[in-house]
């Protein structure tokens, strides 16, 4: 199988991030990794959380993915499949492994044998990938102190950290990030440590209902056509690839099926600054510049501004110019 060049992999990643033929690209990448030899080692740790991400990967649209891509990585540890408590602490890795954390260990968990082992693995890891919004943002089943502890551990050992948020995370985000690490290098991250490759664009930007938004056609109730903004959609402020790749083999996705985006990959999830999952966004507050709603709000503020300006002008004019009765007779218009 012909080995792909770095340029080919870059092109594949660009295609998969922006939409396009996923399957042939993945086949090529799998072959490239095979041809290269010496697959890297992967440690997938899930201390105590749900297995939404593992299930999403298990049922990924290309079942061959588990055997072609995951099979390329030496799975040193995969919590959902293990029979015994943990890998022996003395296990030697051939090189720095990549560690995927599907949940954050609690303070008690770090004190247990598997926590001690994980801490040692992170210390020598090539990269730590936090998988899922709970792990990435310390919300719901995780906590801010849990997140701070994990981040501090990575910083202490100089281990780079990547965050892949989502509930669950689109499976190709992890596969693509791992491939990027292996074939190209460390991906460029945004301020929230998310790969710009997958979190560089809002969901709204390429939503199939974008035209409805621009034309002011809004669904007023569930099941109606139109933009879902008034039903609380967080697409305009959520960065992800859902509107491009969709879900489960591209058959559907949240908004496409009539369910407003809940912003599950946004740092503000699930509270969104007090709005909650389905609270309606405000254009000015959430920087929805360029949308119809923003235009309307802009017009409104514009009229208000003009009215205020006119009133202020009248006040100033009254202050600097005396009333007509006080003017000298020669200064009055039409005076005798």
């Amino acid at each position: 199988m012909q080995e792909l060049t770095r340029r080919d992999v870059l092109r594949w990643l660009t295609v998969t991030a922006a939409g396009g033929a996923l399957a042939p690209a993945l086949e090529g990448l799998a072959g490239a990794i095979e041809a290269r030899g010496g697959p890297p080692e992967l440690v997938w740790f899930n201390g105590s959380g749900g297995q939404l991400n593992f299930l999403a990967h298990l049922g990924h649209e290309h079942p061959g993915l588990l055997e072609r891509i995951a099979g390329r990585w030496v799975v040193a540890h995969l919590d959902p499949l293990l029979a015994a408590p943990h890998v022996e602490p003395t296990r030697q890795f051939r090189g720095p492994p990549v560690v995927v954390l599907e949940s954050l260990p609690s303070p008690e968990a770090w004190q247990r044998p598997e926590g001690t082992w994980l801490s040692a693995v992170i210390a020598k890891a090539r990269t730590v990938v936090l998988l899922g919004s709970e792990a990435c943002f310390g919300v719901l089943g995780a906590s801010q102190p849990d997140l701070a502890r994990t981040e501090a551990l990575c910083e202490e050992h100089g281990t780079p950290l990547i965050k892949l948020p989502g509930i669950p995370v689109p499976p190709h985000h992890l596969v693509g990030t791992l491939a990027h690490l292996e074939r190209i290098g460390f991906p460029r991250l945004d301020v929230h440590r998310r790969p710009e490759l997958y979190y560089g664009e809002t969901v709204c930007r390429r939503c199939e209902r974008r035209g409805d938004l621009e034309n002011g056609v809004f669904a007023g109730a569930f099941g109606e056509p139109g933009c879902l903004l008034r039903l609380g959609c967080k697409g305009p402020v959520t960065h992800n690839t859902c509107s491009v790749h969709k879900w489960n083999g591209g058959v559907s996705w949240c908004v496409g099926a009539g369910g407003p985006c809940t912003g599950c990959s946004a740092p503000g999830f699930p509270d969104h600054g007090g709005l909650g999952l389905y609270g309606r966004l405000s254009a000015s507050r959430h920087a929805l510049a360029g949308t119809w709603l923003a235009h309307l709000e802009g017009l409104g503020w514009g009229f208000f501004g003009l009215a205020a300006l006119g009133f202020a002008f009248r006040l100033v004019r009254r202050a600097v110019r005396p009333p007509a009765a006080e003017l000298p007779a020669e200064g009055r218009r039409g005076g005798a």
Partner: protein
């Protein structure tokens, strides 16, 4: 000792008196975090409890909300929900068998010995060389399968994700995506099912049917045949509970009847459902505090050893899940629908159905449901026509106030959500999860749940591989989720 291959964290340890205790850890305090939120948030967030029971929890939550708001979906909406739910049950049963149960009988090290013709299995073998090659993986496994049988099971294991993907695609057509469906709303479902969508669902169900009703069941029967001890091991309780409604339709429309079988007598399950915190890391509710308020965490409480509350009905523990559903259905005399399932169980377990509450019985009863659920799915798809209205407008539900309850049979047993809404916000949300029944610690009267009852017969050092495998087989047979139990 921590048990793997289940959601969440479950530790087993021996109490000073020698009894085995199952300790569920890592609580998420979801009920408390839902207070003050709109009920729509609850329908979404309860799905984070776990992958296998997520759809069940969302259904129970939206039904509770509808009970408060006084709205009902149109028939097409109820059918669409039932289809979504039964697909999630099919997915859970198949996933649970291949990724939780089977590895208890077929070690990962078998991958290294694979000499069949499937490239996929060989590639997996190379990739899993670490865990599969570890010496401890072989310990405690009896060589029960022949080489040809091992190869066949590994090939089916490697094929299973493709079939799970098919079921996930079907759920995505209805729910937007799976896991985490997005279209359950008060009054029905937000999605549209046009002719293309229905045709796609028909096609996918037909394609996955042979795997579900033939392959999985054959593998389960082979497992039972090669491990005859599990026919009688791990006996649980003699009280069984089913709240009906696999598929969410509930009531008399449900695939399985509601019932409580206790002391040999069958009755409607109308007794109060409560949760004891006697051995749980929660402080007891203050007298007169009112039902439904989340109890305060008390991690230092003396005598406590788990975060799993003890669910009780009329003060009694009960075994739940597929085996309970079948035992109760059989007792109500439902012929035709369950007679085939019951016959299969009796033939292969060699005991009457009421005595099927064993490791082998629990595994087989879940697999026996597969055919019934597939048939029901086909019937629903035949009845649904393109572009029917799936939702009754229910704008008033946003400001609903009052109390409502939703009940659904999840893959591992009943889910009950009780919502109290005030000015359109959740005042209290009380969730009784399926694994809370089977995985419960002793209650105030000292009665334990089905899991600890089943574990009680296991003697010896739990760190020894042979004992550890026996314990794992018992736990995984319950399809137990610690994440679900502690939520």
């Amino acid at each position: 000792m921590r048990l793997h291959r289940l959601e969440g964290r479950l530790d087993l340890h021996r109490a000073p008196e020698g009894r085995l205790r199952a300790s569920g850890g890592a609580p998420r305090f979801l009920e408390a975090s839902l207070q003050g939120r709109p009920p729509a948030d609850a329908v979404y967030l309860v799905q984070t409890i776990g992958g296998d029971s997520g759809v069940s929890h969302a259904l129970a939550a939206v039904q509770a909300w509808e009970a408060v708001a006084g709205v009902q979906p149109p028939r097409a909406g109820r059918l669409a929900r039932e289809l979504l739910h039964l697909l999630s049950v099919l997915h859970a049963h198949a996933q649970q068998f291949y990724f939780q149960v089977l590895p208890d009988y077929l070690p990962l090290s078998a991958l290294a010995d694979y000499d069949g013709g499937a490239d996929g299995v060989r590639r997996l073998a190379r990739g899993m060389a670490g865990p599969a090659g570890e010496p401890w993986v072989r310990d405690g496994f009896e060589a029960a399968f022949s080489r040809a049988e091992r190869n066949r099971l590994l090939e089916h294991w490697a094929e299973a994700p493709g079939h799970l993907a098919r079921l996930q695609r079907m759920m995505a057509r209805l729910g937007g995506k799976f896991p985490m469906v997005m279209t359950l709303v008060p009054g029905g479902m937000a999605c549209r099912l046009d002719a293309d969508a229905l045709l796609g669902l028909h096609r996918e169900l037909r394609a996955v049917e042979p795997f579900l009703v033939e392959t999985v069941i054959e593998d389960g029967l082979l497992l039972l045949e090669r491990h005859p001890a599990i026919r009688s091991e791990g006996r649980g309780l003699d009280t069984f509970l089913s709240l009906g409604g696999v598929g969410g339709a509930g009531g008399d429309d449900g695939l399985f009847p509601r019932g409580l079988l206790a002391g040999g007598s069958l009755a409607a399950p109308e007794r109060p459902i409560t949760e004891s915190v006697r051995h749980t890391f929660y402080a007891p509710a203050a007298p007169g505090a009112g039902g439904g308020l989340p109890v305060r965490p008390a991690p230092e409480k003396p005598g406590a050893y788990t975060w799993v509350k003890a669910a009780r009905i009329g003060g009694e523990p009960a075994e739940v899940g597929a085996v309970a559903r079948l035992i109760i259905a059989r007792r109500t005399g439902l012929q035709g629908r369950v007679s085939g399932m019951a016959a299969m169980l009796e033939d292969h377990l060699q005991v009457p159905v009421p005595e099927a509450n064993t490791v082998g019985g629990r595994i087989l009863s879940r697999l026996a449901e597969l055919d019934l659920l597939v048939r029901r799915g086909e019937a629903i798809l035949t009845e649904l026509e393109p572009d029917l209205a799936l939702v009754t407008p229910a704008a008033a539900a946003q400001e609903a106030a009052g109390e409502g309850t939703g009940e659904v049979e999840a893959p591992a047993g009943p889910v009950r959500h009780r919502l109290v809404l005030e000015r359109g916000r959740v005042r209290t949300c009380d969730i009784v999860a399926p694994s809370t029944w089977n995985g419960s610690p002793p209650d105030d009267a000292g009665r334990t749940g089905a899991l600890e009852r089943a574990l009680a017969v296991v003697e010896g050092d739990i760190e020894r591989p042979a004992v550890r495998h026996r314990l794992a087989r018992i736990v995984h047979a319950f399809a137990f989720s610690a994440a679900d139990a502690v939520h």
